[in-house]
């Protein structure tokens, strides 16, 4: 797994780390049961604050993506890979939808707006569901 961070970005480094580890799991570069680099090793390798790595791992643990076993390190959890399988399936659904929309003559921006619109409506529906 190759992790690169951009410390000068407005996105905190721990969030960048989380994103990349999730991405590594989604692409199966990291798989269930595999160990992530130790906090110390990753901090020294990337030359970033050790607490940043700890924070990223803790947040990933909270989201159920990794398991931290004391004394032995952080491991990709089984449930994270289950989600990966779902997301792989979703990817093919997405791909065919995008293919069809492109074939219909829609531009990338138009597709993106449509997608965001759908999501916003979903959010609004959820919101009004909660408010009732």
């Amino acid at each position: 797994m190759i992790i690169r961070v951009n410390p000068s970005s407005a996105t905190p480094i721990y969030l960048q780390l989380m994103e990349q580890i999730k991405h590594a799991i989604e692409t199966c570069a990291l798989q269930a049961g595999e160990q992530l680099p130790t906090m110390r090793k990753l901090a020294v390798e990337l030359v970033i604050n050790p607490n940043t790595v700890i924070r990223a791992y803790r947040e990933l643990e909270r989201e159920g993506i990794v398991e931290i076993r004391h004394g032995s390190g952080a491991f990709v959890s089984e449930s994270a890979t289950r989600r990966t399988k779902i997301s792989l399936k979703a990817q093919s659904v997405m791909q065919s939808a995008v293919d069809r929309l492109t074939a219909a003559g829609l531009s990338e921006d138009e597709i993106r707006r449509l997608m965001e619109n759908e999501l916003a409506q979903l959010r609004a529906a959820e919101q009004s569901g909660r408010d009732k």
Binding site: T11, N49, N51, T52
Partner: protein
């Protein structure tokens, strides 16, 4: 209380009527890597001298590990100054041999490690070392005394990019393995963002921004408002810290009440409002430039 490696409250100091520190507060947690930022003349060196007990504040107090910086406390601090003056007639090995007996907790393992990783030539005389080599030697001396707190005044100043990376990597390794607190001043915002957990920005002798880097990056937003009919004079709600106008646009840097400011901006006629997260560079420039 004792969780703080450095605690300064209301430090004031003037030199010949010129105010260097104007009520500076500092709280450096143990185990943090703390970036100390400010323009030249903002009061950084004065602060460091007071923390080390080399200068006295006119008002306020500075505590290291809960105590005043007396000799006994100073022994727990490793210190690297801006002017890297060392004994000119000594070699690298001489300086190490000379320094070691003063510190009962001297760490031979760290000494060896730094000689190796920094590639320091033991038999070279100090004046023949490059600026980068001298910085690395100072760092070796500061670290090997078994310091629990390192106070570094621009530790990477004058180093080439490869040497900077080496020094930063060793600081990270040290923090990870020994839990050493590192308080360092720097003008290189990129390196501060890379290794610091906390920062403080000082300006005109007082702290203007402080906190963990992650939280500051999350908290601060730049809100840009475009006025289709031209900018009007507006009294902004609480939280709007730095307001700048350029043509039809107003940009506001805010660390709190962001929703309030956005709501106010949206309520104005014919405006487009956007908000973005900010980088450390923006945060720094906005705070030291405007006032």
């Amino acid at each position: 209380m004792t969780d703080l490696a450095i605690e300064a409250i209301g430090l004031r100091k003037s030199f010949k009527g010129q105010q260097a520190l104007a009520g500076l507060d500092l709280a450096v947690p143990q185990g943090s890597i703390f970036g100390f930022l400010g323009r030249n003349g903002a009061g950084k060196t004065t602060t460091i001298r007071i923390l080390m007990g080399f200068a006295k504040a006119d008002e306020g107090s500075a505590r290291i590990f809960g105590s005043f910086p007396v000799a006994e406390i100073r022994r727990r601090i490793g210190f690297v100054t801006e002017d890297k003056e060392l004994y000119p007639y000594m070699t690298v090995a001489d300086v190490i041999r000379f320094t070691r007996p003063f510190f009962p907790k001297w760490r031979d393992d760290l000494e060896r490690r730094y000689l190796r990783t920094f590639d320091l030539p033991p038999n070279k005389k100090i004046p023949h070392l490059s600026k980068g080599m001298r910085s690395k030697l100072m760092l070796l001396l500061a670290v090997s005394r078994g310091a629990e707190l390192l106070i570094l005044d621009e530790p990477t100043d004058g180093l080439d990019p490869a040497a900077i990376e080496e020094v930063l990597r060793e600081l990270i390794a040290l923090a990870a393995s020994e839990g050493t607190t590192i308080f360092f001043s720097s003008h290189q915002l990129a390196e501060v963002e890379q290794i610091a957990s906390h920062i403080v920005i000082i300006d005109k002798g007082r702290a203007v921004v402080t906190g963990t880097l992650d939280d500051l990056k999350k908290r601060y937003q730049r809100i840009s408002i475009v006025f289709a009919d031209g900018v009007r004079d507006i009294r902004w709600v609480d939280g709007a810290e730095h307001i700048r106008q350029e043509g039809r646009m107003i940009s506001i840097l805010a660390g709190r009440n962001i929703e309030g400011i956005i709501a106010q901006a949206r309520s104005l006629p014919r405006t487009t409002v956007e908000s973005h997260s900010v980088t450390l560079k923006e945060l720094f420039l906005d705070h030291v430039r405007t006032n």
